[in-house]
């Protein structure tokens, strides 16, 4: 187990000498991460003899010592897991040179004991190429998919990510946390489809293949602008919730508009919305019992019946505001301090779901959105923009065709206010890579489909 050779009492003794004031929080963050990356380029998908591959293995580890005093942070980070690196980083963070302390041993924390292997990526490659090689069926053709699907040149980027973290502080001490997941990108002449998966099981791969196939073909005409009824299927709803709920309730972004505590009780969305951030309830391979500051994660109710209940906070914000709870601090990597971030959002399906029929029947007229290409929230204005590459057009309760790219736009409260109901079954999915402040982190969600009345559509 990574970090098991580290002398924790010795680390605590040195950290204790940096904490000069009663309220000082001093911590050591330990990180190891591994990415196995397989890139595959194919000239003609039907023939695997024409594929060209590139395999890369990245392994890194390091540490950061942080002092949090009042509203100031000092952080010193190193790309090594050694005693020297720790002692040097601690010395740099200390406001006055700490008295000599015994040097804690780090043992073999810097060594990897096993070679990196990810044979499952090769199997995944084959399953994706198989899934993408069949010509479109009649249903797909009716939705604008054409024979470019069979002849296109593709680039697959398949990555397995593993990360181990541990936090030792003069406050909480966490056990080693482990995350493991896959990121997949399919680049085709008609666009890019990306996905985060916690497991390479058949349903997840089938959903990804279907999403990539659905966008093949010539660019289609966007839908008419203006308010439009939409069903956002779970993968699309996950991105909406991440942008419109999670980011809006992060204490540092809330503070841009005033006191984060003042948001508690404010109505943000429709009464159909009960939304939690529950890192411990995430799929097993990305489940987190402690955040990146060592605080236990909690099942945090973000919205109850559409009203804000508990913003997402890290230790720094929780120390400043009585009603904010820590446990939501995440670090993009060891070189940056933590900030408030969501991990795993849950939208609770309605007790009596609105979407009991097929999405088209429930919708009547409108659009079914399976995938959001990217989303962006402007924290200064609360303006939201979700880019949709393609959607299914529904008329009279039947799918009648497909539309080209468009955007869902509006103020967060307006967009969330359109949610008129949910589906019955919540599906776990990756909401994507979140790049808040340029620090990339995977984010997850378990959500049913959502039914929105009058979402604002722009071309």
């Amino acid at each position: 187990m990574p970090f098991s050779s580290i002398d924790v009492p010795g680390v605590l003794r040195l950290l204790g000498r940096i904490a000069e004031r009663p309220d000082d929080l001093v911590d050591l963050f330990l990180e190891r991460r591994e990415t196995v990356f397989l890139a595959v380029e194919t000239r003609r998908r039907a023939s695997r003899r024409d594929t060209r591959s590139e395999l890369q293995v990245h392994r890194e580890g390091g540490l950061a010592v942080r002092l949090l005093r009042d509203e100031r942070t000092w952080l010193s980070s190193r790309d090594e897991l050694t005693t020297d690196a720790f002692v040097d980083a601690a010395r740099r963070v200390a406001r006055t040179p700490p008295h000599a302390a015994a040097r804690p041993t780090f043992g073999d924390a810097d060594l990897w004991s096993t070679p990196a292997q990810a044979t499952e990526l090769w199997e995944l490659r084959d399953r994706l190429l198989d899934g993408l090689s069949t010509p479109p069926d009649a249903t797909e053709r009716a939705l604008g998919v054409d024979d470019t699907l069979a002849d296109a040149e593709l680039r697959l980027e398949l990555r397995r990510h593993r990360r181990w973290t541990k936090s030792i502080s003069n406050g909480p001490i966490s056990a080693t946390e482990r995350e493991s997941f896959y990121s997949i990108a399919i680049h085709a002449p008609w666009g890019r489809v990306g996905s985060l998966l916690t497991r390479l099981d058949a349903p997840a791969i089938e959903r990804l293949v279907a999403a990539a196939r659905a966008t093949a073909g010539p660019r289609l005409e966007p839908p008419s602008e203006g308010p439009t009824d939409c069903v956002l299927e779970p993968d699309a709803a996950a991105v909406l919730l991440h942008e419109a709920v999670a980011h809006v309730l992060e204490a540092d972004l809330l503070a841009r508009g005033g006191d984060p505590e003042a948001a508690i009780g404010v109505e943000l969305g429709s009464p159909h919305l009960d939304i939690f951030d529950d890192p411990a309830g995430a799929p097993e391979s990305v489940r987190r019992l402690a955040d990146d500051e060592g605080f236990p994660t909690l099942r945090r109710c973000l919205l109850r019946a559409g009203r804000i209940e508990q913003p997402i906070a890290d230790a720094a914000w929780a120390r400043r505001r009585e009603r904010l709870e820590p446990g939501g601090g995440r670090r993009g990597d060891r070189h940056e301090p933590p900030d408030p971030r969501s991990s795993h959002l849950e939208l609770i399906p309605e007790a009596e779901p609105t979407l009991t029929a097929t999405p088209a029947e429930a919708l009547g007229d409108g659009l079914i959105v399976s995938r959001v290409e990217r989303g962006r929230l402007d924290p200064a204005t609360g303006h939201l923009r979700l880019m949709i590459p393609r959607a299914m057009q529904v008329a009279g309760g039947t799918i009648v065709g497909a539309t080209g790219p468009f955007a869902i736009v509006g103020h967060v409260a307006e967009v969330l206010g359109t949610i008129a109901g949910t589906g019955a079954e919540a599906v776990a999915s990756g909401a994507g890579w979140c790049a808040k402040h340029g620090r990339r982190l995977p984010v997850w969600a378990t959500t049913p489909a959502v039914f929105c009345r009058g979402l604002e559509i722009r071309r």
Binding site: E54, H58, T73, S76, S77, D79, E80, H335
Partner: protein
């Protein structure tokens, strides 16, 4: 104030790791290692501040033969592994010292300022305070809401089983500012600036630029559709240049062809005097040289790495965006050549009716040959006071943009390329006068 110690990767450890890879049976192998030191200072009006000090180190091995290969990267100092990753289908090409035998390799002097010390904590806070003070002085009620300064230095080294050895150093600082204007609702604007070192940033000029942006955002008026002559300030021109960076790669130009007016010269200038990422060697250790891509309006060359077939002379144009990634072809320092005798004011004065576009908002949207970029600036009519313009989109085709450049000023400024195929490169442009570009409402 002592000079910065860049450090350098331990050549002994690199040789040991390289030997261990070769003992594993691979035909050829290369090791690249990098050590970096940086300091970052972040401040926000929500009264948070952070001082970060980093020591980063990592290395990357490429190994294999014509048919099979692997790439392995790790943090820390280079070290031999007990087991290297298995090689998989996909061959490896590595250059050797003879690859560049017939390439020009002009004498090289490292750029000045590489040894400038990293900015200290109190200096950083004073810079932020000075910008805030000056901004408020120039535009009452305006102020900084967020600031971040990253100031770093690095040294890297490369060894190859083919006998190639190279090393280089770098020094770069990036400043990101966000400011709000007076009144409610307050307008907000951002500014990103790069320079050799943190202490080169000028608080007065930065505050002036922010104040201009905030005033335009506050007072600017939307535009109906128009086609007119425009002066593009360096930040706007550099954004457009960055968006075209992938167009400069290829297998050579068989015959010069006219793509623009004589005022336009575009270079990839990895050895530029005063350039921010200037280097004598690329990420594979091959010599670089400045390549005119467009000279006086004539398309002259494309950037061709040594392994790509072609009749013209290749150049060192394989660059690494970090120690984690293998080198990829891209420009290093893509610039539009300034005209030392032409002042920006002369270009603006020439506009009888047109637009002076000072800033770009967001990234360029590219769809095939067409581009669109949200811009702000001034509408100019001779004999009338300039009126501020906002919410306008500059639209056109890349070819019409280059064809339309009729004059170039001397005020070369650099911008970083953060994303896309040229991520990690620097683009630089002076102000440009361009005929007949289209502006549309947002």
């Amino acid at each position: 104030m002592s000079a910065i110690d860049h450090g350098a990767p331990d050549v002994g450890a690199m040789r040991e790791a390289l030997a261990a890879v070769r003992r594993s049976g691979v035909v050829r192998a290369e090791i690249f290692a990098k050590i970096g030191r940086s300091r970052s200072y972040a401040w926000s009006s929500e009264r948070e501040s952070a001082s970060l000090e980093r020591r980063e180190a990592g290395w990357l091995v490429r190994a294999g033969d014509d048919d099979r290969s692997f790439v392995f990267a790790a943090s820390g100092p280079p070290r031999p592994l007990r087991t290297w990753p298995s090689a998989h289908p996909g061959g490896l090409r590595l250059p050797s010292p003879s690859t560049a035998n017939d390439w020009p390799n002009p004498p090289w002097t490292p750029p000045p300022g590489l040894d400038l010390p990293l900015l200290g904590e109190s200096e950083a806070w004073e810079l932020f305070r000075a910008i805030d003070r000056e901004l408020n002085r120039q535009l009452a009620g305006a102020g900084l809401i967020r600031a971040r300064l990253d100031d770093g230095a690095s040294g890297s080294r490369l060894l190859s089983s083919t006998g190639l050895e190279a090393s280089s150093r770098a020094r770069l600082a990036e400043l990101h500012l966000e400011a709000r204007g007076p009144g409610r609702p307050a307008t907000m604007r951002e500014l990103v600036q790069v320079d050799r070192a943190g202490r080169r940033f000028d608080a007065h000029r930065l505050a002036q630029r922010l104040a201009d942006r905030l005033e335009i955002a506050q007072r600017g008026e939307a535009i109906a559709r128009d086609r007119a002559d425009v002066v593009l300030a360096p930040p706007v021109a550099a954004q457009l240049l960055a968006a075209t960076s992938s167009l400069w790669l290829g297998a050579g130009v068989t015959e010069p062809s006219r793509v623009g007016m004589s005022a336009l010269t575009v270079l990839d200038a990895p050895r530029l005097d005063g350039g921010l990422v200037s280097s004598a060697v690329d990420g594979e250790g091959l010599p670089t040289r400045d390549i005119p891509l467009i000279e006086a309006g004539q398309r002259q060359a494309l950037l061709r790495p040594w392994w790509r077939p072609g009749n013209d002379l290749p150049t060192g144009c394989m660059w690494r965006s970090s120690w984690r990634t293998p080198p990829r072809p891209r420009p290093a320092q893509l610039i539009i050549e300034p005209q030392p005798t032409v002042r920006t004011g002369d270009l603006v004065a020439e506009l009888a009716r047109g637009y002076y576009l000072l800033e770009a908002l967001g990234a360029v949207r590219v769809d095939g040959e067409r581009f669109a970029l949200e811009v702000e600036g001034f509408s100019l009519r001779r004999g009338e006071a300039p009126s501020a313009l906002r919410g306008a989109w500059l639209c056109g085709t890349v070819s019409s943009l280059w064809r339309g450049v009729v004059a170039v000023a001397r005020d070369l400024q650099f911008s970083p390329v953060a994303a896309g195929p040229a991520a990690g490169a620097i683009v630089g442009s002076p102000s440009l006068m361009v005929r007949g570009l289209e502006l549309r409402a947002g």
